[in-house]
């Protein structure tokens, strides 16, 4: 009986000693600094996205302000709602596409912009909304394989719909409003008259192309695999995913005409106790220099025109928000979509499944 007891006392004593040591270490000169460390938790996608953020945002921010950045992956829209509902915050700042952002505002999940920190005059008016500041932009555009179309491929959604002039296997994006807008463009609706969407007209036009769509994609990696392996000859895909393949030497061409510009907005979940820190962080990364640094690593479009001053021309040539590309692109009307998306999504899913 005796030996195990004394052993357990020993370990208890050792544990106490360790704890005391740790406590005194905290009280030593390093202690007060540790106590003051401020940390902001940023929600991120992981992978190359987080690596780019680390170089363009996190490190310079910590250097400039002393505020540490910790990351939590991946980005989840549902997690935002769960956090606000439970009052337990895993992260303080995140970003979502403009349509999801508007849904979140509609559901009252976001903190209003703190204008004591965010400077209205520092960024273009379009880059600030009531509950968020714009992040970078991703385009969904028409991409085709050059080896399948040596004499020039489809240059518009009307061409994509023209199966006689451009025979080949096709692939579209399983995101309702994006694909519906492309159908309307193919049907001759001008880009500035797309919204509010004429759903009946769009679905009628989609009926035409449905038998020629070999597959519908929903995951970014899936879209890359499909066009890279030649499973399909033309596809509606994200410019950054296509650019990654082009940089690797795949014979792809991006047709920027008719692209859907999809801007992200960064925000703070409603009720977050570290909101001030989060807005400090968001203010810092919205500056042209930081935006330019990020967009020089990954081919997403900066939203502040001044950012292009810091971007090399060969990099700018890959970006979806270069002024000449914005002119031939369109944007979803997120405020119109947000309250209607559930119905549109349902109709789209039913149309797909039949």
């Amino acid at each position: 009986m005796k030996s195990p007891r004394s052993r357990s006392q020993l370990s208890r004593r050792r544990m106490l000693a360790t704890a005391a040591g740790a406590a005194s270490a905290l009280a030593l000169p390093g202690g007060p600094v540790l106590g003051q460390t401020r940390t902001v938790y940023v929600n991120t996608w992981g992978g190359s996205w987080t690596a780019a953020e680390d170089t363009a945002y996190f490190k310079p921010f910590t250097q400039a302000t002393g505020i540490q950045v910790r990351t939590v992956a991946p980005v989840s829209f549902a997690k935002l709602k769960a956090q606000v509902q439970t009052g337990q915050y895993e992260w303080d700042a995140s970003g979502l596409g403009i349509v999801e952002y508007s849904q979140a505002v509609h559901e009252n999940l976001l903190e209003p912009v703190d204008f004591s920190i965010i400077d209205r005059n520092a960024v273009p008016a379009a880059n600030i909304k009531s509950h968020g500041v714009s992040s970078v932009t991703l385009s969904t555009c028409l991409v085709y394989r050059k080896d399948k179309f040596p004499n020039g491929g489809p240059q518009s959604w009307a061409d994509f719909w023209d199966v006689k002039k451009f025979p080949g296997k096709r692939c579209l994006y399983d995101r309702s409003f994006t694909t519906l807008a492309f159908a309307l463009l193919a049907d001759g609706v001008p880009a500035d008259k797309l919204y509010p969407l004429d759903l009946d007209r769009a679905f009628k036009k989609l009926d035409e192309i449905k038998p020629h769509i070999k597959v519908w994609w929903s995951q970014g990696a899936q879209s890359q695999q499909l066009i890279q392996d030649g499973e399909v000859d033309m596809i509606a895909m994200w410019n950054a995913r296509a650019q990654e393949l082009i940089d690797r030497g795949e014979p792809l061409e991006i047709a920027w005409n008719g692209a859907e510009i999809y801007t992200s907005f960064r925000f703070v979940p409603r009720g977050n106790p570290r909101a001030k820190l989060a807005w400090e962080y968001l203010k810092f990364i919205s500056e042209p220099k930081q935006e330019a640094a990020f967009c020089s690593i990954l081919p997403y479009g900066p939203n502040n025109p001044k950012s292009f001053d810091h971007i090399a021309p060969d990099v700018a040539a890959k970006l979806p928000t270069r002024p000449d590309r914005v002119k031939v692109a369109h944007q979803p009307d997120a405020e119109w979509l947000a309250p209607r998306l559930a119905g549109i999504r349902e109709r789209f899913a039913q149309w797909l499944a039949t």
Partner: protein, 294 residues
């Protein structure tokens, strides 16, 4: 099973229980309490919450259920989910039974090799295995290459069909079936087969009358396991199948992740749960779920 374990322990505690002023026979219940508590906290409460959400979010009504049964999309996808799960279970059983049989009956390197193959398959992530099929059946894959090498001309369309979707799911779920069957088959006494042979039964008759009935617990166990896991699949059909192969979990996921419609998603989940329970109840009526425990 917990009751069996609890009984002797309860008797052992009899002496102490009255001293604390508790009735003697409450001790087994006390011993069962941790397990019951875990079940309630981990299963009953969440399911209850889902049930509650489905009729209260965003407002108290049964509108979600009305929508599920009035919009054709949901009943159609639900029906497809069950037929797909049944097909996958059937194919897994047909393919898994012979494999498990060989694994259990042989005790040499063949058995070990098969077991390693099944285990490696089991431990490889299902996303990886799904993408592997995209390559194998794809344009630049071996199937098409072999087809063209023999000069058969244009290969049939393999990818993005119901066939490839079922194939992918069978590949992912087959190890569950094989291991469930194997664990039961391994316990069957080989002397029983020798006995039936000595009584004049031909191998086929001896298999039918002796071996097959003894493996039924494994068949039931494996089938239910594969069937219920398959009901929750959606990534594999998205990547390998057509939009017509959509599974109900995909719609639940869309409602939660894209639309934040938790109330409606809960209602769909409840309908799936009820439908699954009905299927299992019918199955129980004819096959008997108690066979699960041998």
């Amino acid at each position: 099973m917990a009751g069996v374990v609890a009984a002797p322990a309860g008797q052992a505690g009899l002496a102490a229980a009255p001293a604390r002023g508790l009735p003697a026979d409450s001790t087994p219940w006390l011993l069962l309490a941790p397990a019951t508590l875990a079940l309630v906290i981990l299963f009953l409460l969440p399911i209850g919450y889902v049930l509650l959400l489905s009729v209260t979010d965003p407002a108290v009504s049964i509108a979600h259920y009305r929508r599920i049964f009035s919009v054709p999309l949901y009943t159609r996808v639900l029906f497809n989910t069950f037929t797909t799960a049944l097909t996958v279970t059937g194919v897994c059983l047909l393919l898994g039974y012979p494999v498990a049989y060989v694994m259990a009956r042989r005790s040499d390197w063949v058995s070990t090799a098969l077991l390693i193959c099944v285990a490696v398959c089991f431990w490889t992530g299902f996303i990886v295995r799904t993408y592997a099929w995209l390559v194998i059946l794809g344009n630049k894959g071996p199937v098409v290459a072999v087809y063209q090498a023999f000069g058969f001309g244009a290969p049939p369309r393999l990818l993005f069909t119901t066939f490839s979707s079922i194939l992918g799911m069978v590949h992912i779920l087959l190890p569950y079936m094989v291991l469930a069957l194997y664990s039961v088959m391994k316990k069957i006494d080989p002397n029983l087969l020798r006995a039936s042979a000595s009584l004049g039964a031909r191998p086929a008759a001896s298999f039918r009358a002796v071996y097959l009935p003894l493996t039924l617990p494994g068949v039931v166990n494996g089938s239910i396991l594969v069937f219920t896991i398959c009901l929750g699949f959606f990534i594999t059909p998205i990547l390998l199948g057509t939009p017509k192969d959509m599974m109900i979990s995909q719609l639940i996921n869309q409602q939660i992740e894209e639309l934040l419609a938790w109330g409606f998603a809960s209602a769909v989940a409840v309908v799936l749960l009820v439908a699954t329970s009905i299927v299992l109840a019918v199955y129980n009526r004819f096959a008997g779920l108690d066979r699960l425990w041998g």
